[in-house]
């Protein structure tokens, strides 16, 4: 009886804390369906009518559609290059020890340790100085993509090297005896086997890049190139879009939804990877 009460007590605490997490999020979603006056008058109430036009305003009038597209382009372009070149490097580190390979691997992992802001000023000038004619890497989607690839490599190489190490050793030997080349073994045997690792790396980097703010803030000043986080931040801080609260809430929901969907589908995998990264790193 006492233990039953205790169990109920603990569960009450756990639910209460879940509410602390959920209430601000629900408030955001509810507000995104409310009219302007309703947002002021009844912050705790449910929307009396679903004002879908908030989403239309955010998407078109406030320009979220454009920022969404920019984010999609940069995120996808980064992943398309990052995953193959990260996997190639990770495979060599995991399977082909050479003189200095430990040091180089350590240098890659070091990138997970130091803060991004250590490099932000030199990086800003580097991007400004790298030019092809009048085309500069600064303030272009290509430039940001290259920076994103470089800064995502440490985590990617770390996770994938761990993956390749767990694959059985005699596999590549057998394939080599059959006459396959080093790269043949990698693309035809190892990479397909590492698919779960590639998915994990893709999800993690995808979420991180979709959300990224600081690098984009410094390297992407012009409105045409703004990614989603930059765009929504600019609406609130600079343009003071607060005359249309409903659209702002809708904008926040639009930024969050893709992440929420991916997170809920892959939540167990995300847990595992975060833990592995945290405890081994």
């Amino acid at each position: 009886m006492i233990s039953l009460l205790k169990r109920a007590g603990t569960n009450a605490v756990l639910f209460a804390f879940a509410l602390v997490v959920i209430v601000p999020l629900l408030w955001m979603v509810f507000s995104s369906f409310k009219s302007g006056p309703e947002i002021f008058a009844s912050p705790w109430g449910l929307p009396s009518k679903l004002h879908f036009e908030n989403f239309a305003h955010a998407w078109q009038t406030a320009g979220i559609a454009h920022f969404f597209l920019n984010s999609l382009i940069v995120t996808v372009a980064t992943l398309v290059v990052l995953i193959p070149i990260g996997a190639m490097a990770a495979y060599v580190f995991a399977r082909y020890p050479f003189l200095g390979s430990k040091v180089l691997f350590g240098t890659f992992l070091g990138g997970m340790m130091f803060p991004q802001f250590l490099t932000i000023v030199p990086l800003f000038f580097l991007m400004n100085s790298l030019k092809l004619g009048s085309y500069s890497l600064y303030d272009t989607k290509l430039g940001l993509t290259i920076v994103y690839i470089a800064y995502s490599l440490p985590f990617t190489v770390f996770v994938l090297a761990g993956f390749f190490q767990t694959l059985p050793k005699d596999l590549d030997e057998a394939a080599m005896i059959d006459g396959a080349s080093h790269s043949g073994v990698f693309w035809k045997v190892m990479l397909p086997l590492a698919k779960p690792g590639l998915i994990v790396v893709g999800i993690f980097n995808g979420i991180g890049l979709w959300n990224e703010y600081s690098l984009a803030l410094v390297l992407m000043p012009s409105e045409a190139n703004r990614t989603l986080p930059l765009g929504i931040a600019n609406l609130v801080m600079v343009e003071h879009y607060q005359s249309d609260w409903g659209a702002l809430f809708a904008g926040l929901v639009i930024v969050m939804i893709p992440v929420l969907i991916v997170y809920w589908i892959f939540r167990e995998k995300i847990h595992e990877t975060m833990l592995a990264g945290a405890l081994k790193g």
């Binding site: 030199p122 990086l123 930024v255």
Partner: protein, 301 residues
């Protein structure tokens, strides 16, 4: 047979990643140390070597110390709250049922969200006109007297409330990760140890203090290191919620760095601050690791 083309393979497969990483990460890191010895406003002609002047200036800069103090407060108060809540919730959440898994996913979700969304959402939560918090504050206003000035419900605009408000947001955002860390730590405790302690009459809080807490030591160390790194490197949350204001009452190291570099164009000073920040993070982490080296679980046996 096996060594055919091995070297060529290693070189070509490492090259793309190493090149990108070297040029865009390692090279700027090395450059940062160089930059910090120059007075520089961006035009290359105006670059003058000043030795340690940028660091001396930083040392005498009251804004830097104010910022560092706010970082320290976020670490001590926010980090402390995260440790207490993290261990407490993880302890209460024992077991691997469906419910536990769902709850864990809920707690972790803010950590997966964009900091931009978190910062703006909480800016709205604290908004004096539409916010959830101010609407609660209004309940305690009492009757309005004629001629009396309206009650001030601003939070992020208040010199005393802004920093606590930012800290609450930080805890809300980060705590799920630490709950996850601690629940894994608890699950790693061998069940025989827990059973044996129960036979010895250890229960509830007693069991928690004597068994769970000491055995969480190594996970706890990792958690504190993460807190050091994350609280000393707070940027987006403060930058978006308060821009360091009002009157620098929420300024942190990295918002000040951003201002020095991209508002004041004092790139040498900004880089010196970046290096100071890095050194402080490493030093505090080192001190934490050293102080916590003795494992009380081992010592008490």
């Amino acid at each position: 047979m096996r060594n055919r083309g091995r070297t060529a393979f290693i070189v070509t497969y490492l090259a793309p990643a190493t090149l990108l990483y070297g040029v865009f990460v390692i090279w700027p890191v090395l450059q940062a140390f160089g930059f910090s010895f120059y007075k520089w406003s961006g035009m290359s002609a105006n670059k003058t070597f000043v030795g340690f002047d940028n660091f001396k200036q930083l040392f005498h800069d009251s804004v830097f110390w104010q910022a560092l103090e706010h970082n320290a407060l976020i670490f001590l108060i926010g980090g402390g709250a995260i440790l207490v809540i993290g261990v407490g919730i993880a302890h209460a959440m024992q077991g691997e049922g469906r419910l536990t898994k769902v709850l864990r996913s809920v707690y972790l979700f803010p950590n997966i969200m964009s900091l931009v969304v978190v910062a703006i959402l909480w800016e709205f939560v604290y908004d004096p006109n539409i916010g959830l918090v101010s609407s609660l504050m209004r309940l305690f206003d009492g009757p309005v007297r004629a001629g009396a000035p309206p009650v001030d419900h601003s939070i992020l605009g208040s010199a005393t409330k802004a920093l606590p408000a930012v800290i609450v947001t930080f805890v809300w955002f980060a705590v799920g990760f630490y709950i996850m860390l601690f629940s894994t730590g608890i699950r790693q405790i061998p069940s025989e140890v827990v059973e044996a302690s129960k036979l010895d009459g250890a229960e509830g809080f007693h069991q928690f203090r004597k068994i769970t807490l000491p055995l969480l030591w190594s996970v706890g160390r990792i958690a504190v290191i993460y807190l050091v790194i994350n609280t000393l490197n707070v940027f987006a949350l403060v930058f978006l919620m308060t821009q360091g204001g009002p009157d620098r009452k929420t300024e942190v190291m990295l918002t000040y760095l951003y201002e020095q570099a991209f508002v004041n164009s004092d790139y040498g000073a900004a880089t010196a601050l970046a290096i100071a920040n890095f050194v402080i993070v490493m030093a505090v982490s080192g001190i934490v690791l050293r102080l916590t080296r003795k494992d009380p679980a081992g010592a008490s046996r």
